[in-house]
Amino acid sequence: MIDDATIMKRICSGEYLLFDELVLRYRERLLRFAWSKYGSLSAAEDLVQEAFLSAFAARESYNPAFAFSTWLWTIFLNLCRRHYKRELRHPREMVRSSFAAAEAAVIPEPSSSETPLQVALKTEQFELLALYLAELPEVQADALRLRFFGGMKFTEIALTMDCSLSAAKIRVKNGLLQLAHRFSEGSTSEGEVS
């Protein structure tokens, strides 16, 4: 498998179609990050697309001294922050409304062996996680998203978030502690109701 830096080098020399390979490598992780952050898949797709386009447009500024993934994530995180600032001007409430809000949505035929119920449960779990992440301080939530959805090392998280290695670890640890507490609260209250 060709590494990212070599692909970027070849793209800079004119093999533009190779950029597809980079999109395939990173699209899903970026998408999951943005979707868990904003709840809107269409907004997430737009952000991911914009990040790839800006990386392509600024390809000449890329230097193999740093990892392409770190660069892409840094661009993406900055785009997300800009998007977040704009969202603050038009605040919207995040709710678990997947089925209620989707009355008009056509439920597609399942393409895998999983039952619709299983897929629905997974979606619900993902939504709940996204909801709890939204309650955390932004830096902690972003560090968690980078670690789990981005699959990044702590050193990469530190570089992307422009903080020290220990700060990156502390953000992940504190975020997880709060998240675990929130999940425990949720399961306790569900138990009480039943």
Binding site: E28, L31, R32, Y38, G39, S40, L41, S42, A43, D46, E50, L53, S54, A55, A57, A58, S61, Y62, N63, A65, F66, T70, W71, T74, I75, N78, H83, E87, H90, E93, M94, V95, S97, S98, A101, A102, A105, I107, P108, P110, S111, S112, P116, V119, K122, T123, Q125, L129, A130, L131, R147, F148, F149, L159, K169, K173, L176, L177, L179, A180
Partner: protein, 202 residues
């Protein structure tokens, strides 16, 4: 594996069940406790990551869980037909590249200077130990009797016979002690020191 590395693996998206970590958890109650505390959050992340291989699969039943309207979305993202990529975004990418380049250059510059650090530390430690040893030796020499090492005294004492022996001999010869002999304690000490110092030096 230390606890820091264990935390890396506990929070690792894929390697969280590796044998090395399990071994560490068996031995370290602190990390075991940490993993148990974080379990509700970790399990959720790991279930989502293990089960869902494709975001598109998850989005089969997707409906945005933001209460967004089409109008609001349109205000955030450019309308169709407008250029999607703005100059601001490209500038953002270039700034990120220059920051990362600067950091990688800084890291490369600091790395070689960091390498000899342990060696330098060892040298400094050795120098410090030598200095402390020298100072201690000097301090001891100052605390000791000044005339101990005086060559004139030692040579004088070495020429005299040991006063204890002399006293014993004189006692045998003359049973009555004189007052002068009683008060000559300092002479006795000096003679001892002179003899013993000489024998040590030899």
């Amino acid at each position: 594996m230390n606890c820091d590395e264990a935390f890396d693996l506990i929070t690792h998206p894929t390697d969280h069940n590796c044998e090395e970590l399990q071994w560490h958890l068996q031995l370290c109650p602190r990390c075991r406790q940490m993993k148990e505390t974080l379990a509700p959050a970790l399990d959720t992340f790991q279930q989502i990551l293990d089960d869902v291989t494709d975001v598109d699969q998850l989005s089969q039943f997707h409906a945005d869980f933001h209460q967004t309207s089409d109008q609001e979305s349109a205000s955030i993202f450019p309308k169709t037909g407008q250029p999607f990529l703005s100059a601001e975004t490209v500038r953002m990418a270039e700034q990120a590249a220059s920051r990362l380049r600067a950091e990688s250059v800084t890291n490369q510059m600091t790395k070689p200077s960091q390498k000899p650090k342990p060696h330098q530390k060892r040298l400094v430690h050795a120098a410090l130990i030598l200095l402390v040893g020298f100072l201690m030796g000097w301090g001891i020499s100052l605390n000791g009797p000044e005339n101990q090492f005086s060559p004139s005294v030692s040579s004088l004492q070495s020429q005299q016979p040991c006063l204890w022996i002399a006293q014993r001999e004189s006692r045998a010869n003359q049973p009555a002690k004189t007052a002068r002999e009683k008060g000559s304690a300092s002479n006795v000490v000096l003679s001892c020191v002179a003899c013993h110092l000489q024998s040590t030096a030899e």
